[in-house]
């Protein structure tokens, strides 16, 4: 650590910053700044994608899941891949907000709002897929344990039920955590809004926040508790999602490493997505002094660390399939790297384990462009990872007579890219209506002397 270059010890705050200047700069983006052409253009693209998503889903509801490429044996396709991928992306947000908060990693303050928003939007995208992938989506509520005249409950042995509970819990906790974290900032927005209608709306949302000492003290405690509640979810949600696979009898799915490896992959995709979002925003909104190179480098290091864990997961999975001597599992692992999907198998290894190794190089770590590219590639790799897991495992399981290739249709792709539309649209709206950096926490940071955290964190 001693030899860490100076740029990575860059102060977390710009020089000469005060409470007021921080609040002004950040809230100004929301309440004062006019909609720029860049924003409108970006929003238009995102919104077009969202409309494509809507169209794809409308067609889906009209005709059925047969518009996708799924078949027997590959009865799960893009929808489940996308679901797992989006849920994973959500994880990094909670990790940064909650786990790093509990660990007093205060560099998180300027990015946690970003990543929390990312979590929410990713979970929103993810939540759509299990619903629309149903053959009869209008009966989705059969999965809930609601009182009904049939006297039927869902089947609690099914991992899909666990999954439903896990994702629902995660969505609810994430929303509440997000909202609690927003409260002081909403009050700031209320106070700094030039128009009455803005003040009314933000006022209502701020739930009467006055910044009183008692409010702060309760607030801090509530936030801590929420962080404590959210922390196990980082681990539990994707562990349970992984059980959808691990409980199955399908070779390639039925391994105990799944939960561990899923969480790592989830965090990796989340850190990557965080970088993908933060790098352009800090550039276009001139926030380089608030979201500094040090933040990016830290995120990159986390990305690197998780990519190593994922790599370890691949290794263990491959080793165990050989060690188990299970012919079906051995076949599927060999097929992953030499069969019809071998390109995908190798690409995912290169993209989500190989490429992030460039982060070891300092110059790469300090280059936002390089990090942006690495993050995109890592996320493509992780999507491929889930694709290979779902599709390649299913496409050649026990009986060779039923082996079949899966090909995504245009509707599959439209739904995938359409979900980016939903995500980005929400994100564009977010940066217009909420402060993208947690002002209250930044103000807290202003009052801390450099080096103070270390002692406090002990």
């Amino acid at each position: 650590m001693r030899t860490t270059p100076t740029s990575e010890l860059e102060p977390l705050l710009p020089p000469g910053v005060t409470d007021d200047s921080i609040s002004e700069r950040i809230s100004g983006i929301v309440v004062k700044r006019k909609m720029g052409l860049g924003w409108i253009g970006g929003f238009a693209i995102a919104f077009s994608l969202l409309m494509m998503f809507n169209y794809a889903i409308a067609v889906l509801f009209a005709y059925g899941v047969g518009i996708w490429g799924i078949q027997i044996p590959v009865a799960w396709g893009f929808a489940i891949v996308n679901f797992v991928w989006w849920v994973g992306i959500g994880h990094a947000g909670t990790f940064i907000s909650a786990v790093l908060y509990l660990c007093h990693q205060e560099w998180r303050t300027s990015i946690n709002r970003f990543t929390e928003s990312m979590t929410l939007f990713a979970v929103a995208c993810a939540g759509i897929f299990p619903l629309i992938h149903l053959g009869r989506p209008w009966l989705f509520y059969y999965l809930f344990p609601y009182p009904n005249t049939m006297g039927l409950w869902p089947q609690f042995r099914s991992p899909l039920i666990w999954d439903m509970f896990a994702v629902t819990t995660y969505a609810i906790v994430s929303v509440v955590f997000y909202f609690v974290g927003l409260l002081p900032d909403l009050a700031t927005l209320r106070d700094r809004s030039p128009h009455r209608w803005q003040r009314v709306i933000y006022g209502l949302l701020a739930l009467g926040w006055r910044g009183a000492g008692r409010q702060w003290s309760r607030y801090k405690m509530a936030y801590l508790i929420m962080a404590g509640l959210a922390t196990p979810l980082v681990v539990s949600v994707h562990s349970i999602v992984s059980l959808d696979f691990a409980v199955g009898i399908v070779p390639g799915w039925h391994t105990t490493i799944m939960p561990f490896y899923f969480v790592a992959a989830a965090l990796q995709s989340g850190f990557a997505m965080g970088l993908i979002l933060i790098i352009p925003v800090r550039h276009f909104y001139h926030l380089k002094d608030i979201i500094t190179g040090r933040h990016l480098a830290n995120m990159a290091k986390l990305l690197l660390a998780t990519s190593l864990i994922v790599g370890h997961g691949y290794f263990t999975d491959t080793f165990m399939s050989w060690y188990s001597a299970d012919p079906y599992d051995k076949f599927i692992v060999a097929d992953k790297f030499s069969g019809a999907y071998a390109i995908g198998g190798w690409m995912l290894m290169i993209l989500d384990v190989g490429v992030p190794q460039l982060i070891w190089i300092r110059a790469v770590r300090q280059s936002p462009v390089a990090l942006f590219v690495i993050a995109i590639l890592a996320n493509v790799g992780l999507w491929l990872d889930h694709f290979i897991l779902v599709v390649q495992s299913l496409h050649s399981d026990y009986l060779p007579s039923e082996w079949r290739m899966f090909y995504g249709t245009k509707w599959d792709w439209m739904t995938l890219f359409g979900s980016f539309g939903l995500f980005l649209t929400l994100f564009f709206v977010f940066i217009r209506i909420f402060p993208m950096v947690a002002m209250s926490e930044m103000r807290g940071l202003v009052h801390k002397k450099p080096g103070e955290t270390k002692e406090q964190g002990a």
């Binding site: 799960w76 053959g135 899909l160 026990y398």
Partner: protein, 978 residues
Amino acid sequence: MLRLSPLTSMKALSLPPQVQADGGGPRFWKSLEEWSHSPDFLPYLHQEFPEFVSEWDNGMSRRRFLKLMAASLALAGLTGCSRQPQEKIVPYVRRPEEIIPGKPLYYATSFSHRGYGKGVLVRTEMGRPIKIEGNPDHPASLGATDIFMQASILGLYDPDRSQTIRQGKDISTWNALTQFVGSRIEAHEQDQGAGLFLLMGQTTSPTLVDQFQRLRERLPKSRWCFYEPAAPVRAQSISGNDVEPSYDLSKADIIVSLDADFLFDGPGNLILTKAFAKKRRDPAADFNRLYVIESAPSITGAKADVRWQHKPSEVIAFTQQLAAELLQGVPAASPALGKLADDLRQHRGKSVIIAGDYQPEIVHNLAFQLNQALGNVGATVTYREAPRHPVPTIQLPDFVAELKAGAASTLLIAGVNPIYDLPAALGFPEALAHVANSMHLGLYDDETGSRCQWHVPEAHYLETWGDIIAIDGTPSVIQPVIEPLYPDVASLMEVISLFVDLPPKKGYDLVHDYWLRNLAADSPVAWDQSLNKGVVVEFSSPALPPAPVVGVRDAPSPDPLKASDLEILIRPDSAVDDGRFANNAWLQELPRPLTKLTWDNVAMLSLNTAKSMGVTTGDVIRLEAAGQSVEAPVWVQPGHADGCVSVTLGYGRSQVGEVANGVGFNAALLRSSVGEWSRMLDGAQATGARRELASTQHHFSMEGRDLIQIETLAAYKIDPNKAQEVKPNPEPRENLYPPFEYKNYAWAMSIDLNTCVGCNACVVACQSENNIPVVGKDQVIKGREMHWIRIDRYFEGEPEDPAMHFQPVACMQCEDAPCEVVCPVGATVHTSEGLNDMVYNRCVGTRYCSNNCPYKVRRFNFLEYSDVKHPTLALQKNPDVTVRSRGVMEKCTYCVQRIESARIDAQKEMRPIRDGEIVTACQAACPAEAIVFGNINDPTSRVSRLKALPRNYGLLADLNTHPRTTYLAKITNPPSAA
């Protein structure tokens, strides 16, 4: 109000009513409105509906005007209609004796195919035939069915069937047709029928034969021709008749098939399969050995213990060499041949040589001689003279030539489609154009029908009277099981009756009259019994049985074919036959036994031939023969002989219906005559185009997995337990969940891979029984076929000359079913009798169960696959089985509706369900009796005893699924290496 005409009601509004002098309301009122102006009414109105008074008083408010205008218009519409005739409907005050709602009735009738009959029992539900079963009393069925019999029920309801009589472009009537035929007969009575030409398919129907003879007597100069596009070739007896062999495989230890697909094709396929399977069921008892020599792999070849693949010319050479060795003692040309000859010599009188139906006459001739020399005639094979044509006929080419010469003024084409299936060289379209008065009778207004002046929709065999003879000469009566769906339809008999009877008779009278004349003394009783049993009892037809054959005429040697060139082999398709079933969607989507291909015919090539031509599966090649060319997609098939291309008939239809139009290519064009089944190709070049083919199985190999356990007979006799040792069922059971208890019944199935011949009958039977939808070619390409039972086919060994294996796979009804635990909504649940039930209403379609099924037997309605567009198809649906909607998973249920029906019967009689009382649809159809269903809680049941055999094993049993369906290992019987 309803009695008012619109005019009067309007008048009532516009004109003040004539008030009678007494100050009361009008005495004669024309409307309620008018009447209502009475002074008594108005105060009453004020009291009752004060808020409406103003409206009522005000002679014509806008609202009232509109209201009444609307009412008037509606009434005007009503009065504009003619009064419907009164139709009294009467509920079943006394219900018909046999009809109990919900209880099926079975009627015996016969399915005829290429002129021969196979007995069927038709299951009807409230008057709707819905399912075909085999007739155990019928000698050509013995209770089994083949794919064509099973699928024929769909043909009845085919929405594309022709429905009206057509003259020219106009819809016509039966009366007009009668007049037309009458006028033609009058004309022909002048010339003794010299201008009357009749072209039809072969038939053995005694009533029809009688009618033909009467017509011929009446018009002796009439010209007749019978042909079948897929008629078998036969040896000629000394008297010049076709020699019809009849095999008794139950006595044959050695069977040699000279390119004979006797397990699949032909009028005797079911009995042959049954007898073949009988000698393969028990390895401890006598066990037959099957040698097959063939060009394109068939299911018979797949069952062979020794199989050689040779191109068509070499099959002839092979037969000649075999004959030379066995008849003349010429030393064997090859060691393999020598071994076969030795085996045959050692089994004199217990072997049989079967010449393929589509082999040239010389092969049949040699087979006859070989069987005679080996002492098989009279033991394993009998030869009889085929029934002669009922009337003197002329050869097809002469017939067409006479048509071309303008000799015909009237032509009747019945049940054949010469425009489609005759070789182009004959020039039939041109010949037809020369005929002034042409009539066509057919199920479809097809390629031929549309070119004839008259088209008469033919009655489906399930809606008409008739009779037919089985392969062994047993006649049976065809009785209708439903009123014709369309009033205009007529059977061939009824059309011929127009020519010979005045007044024309209905089918019932014709058949009934004939059999009353020909039955034994107690005719009415015998008639009833004949209908009931499905075979004619106590008949005394003089034509039957034909004389045994003592010798055959020398057959001409075929022209030697050049060995270097490519030969072509033409066969009826193994799903749509010669094209007559082309519009049957079940058959179109039926995976062909060895290619697993659906919805297409292909040019099949061996691996080597494809390599040398530089083509691969899906490449379109142009085949030239007989002056014609067709473009066909290539299919590279393991087990195919080198140096030849094989194609199948029945495709390339242009005018038949939605299902078949434009599907595949017409291989009949490559023939120069109807009986030509192989010839030299004039050319074959790749076109560079590609066609996507829909196959349901893409992987050939078992990947070294022990899915089909195979053992040679010799090894099995040494250690019968080997099969079980390979895959022991894990005991004791390890499971997190408490075990299920099966207190009453525990249903299970045993499938004998030794006897299963892969004929697909179970697949179609299941489709018919369980309302399984057809999905279409594009969906099959995507991998979404819906068959609940499929027949997996694997190749073993060298791809050029592999062993072939079949394995029927349906839901295994696992005791520890992976599907059950993962369904989030409990839509697939375990029953107290061990079934994995599907609860369609509960299914939300997560498809997790399918992913988790190691056997991949679950089928998902990815789209709305059930046909709701065509109302006639709804009639075929089994009322005991749910028609599934989109988004729902489905799979084999062990025919749970049949289990429940048996349970109801048993409970009514207060007894347990008997062994064998429940027969699943697949089991009922199976000609090899390879599938046995029953209760394993009863150790004496047939299925329990089969499961106790050492060859019993569970598929993927090491996964701890405990499948209820288990297999009996396949035993092969190759000759010893010594």
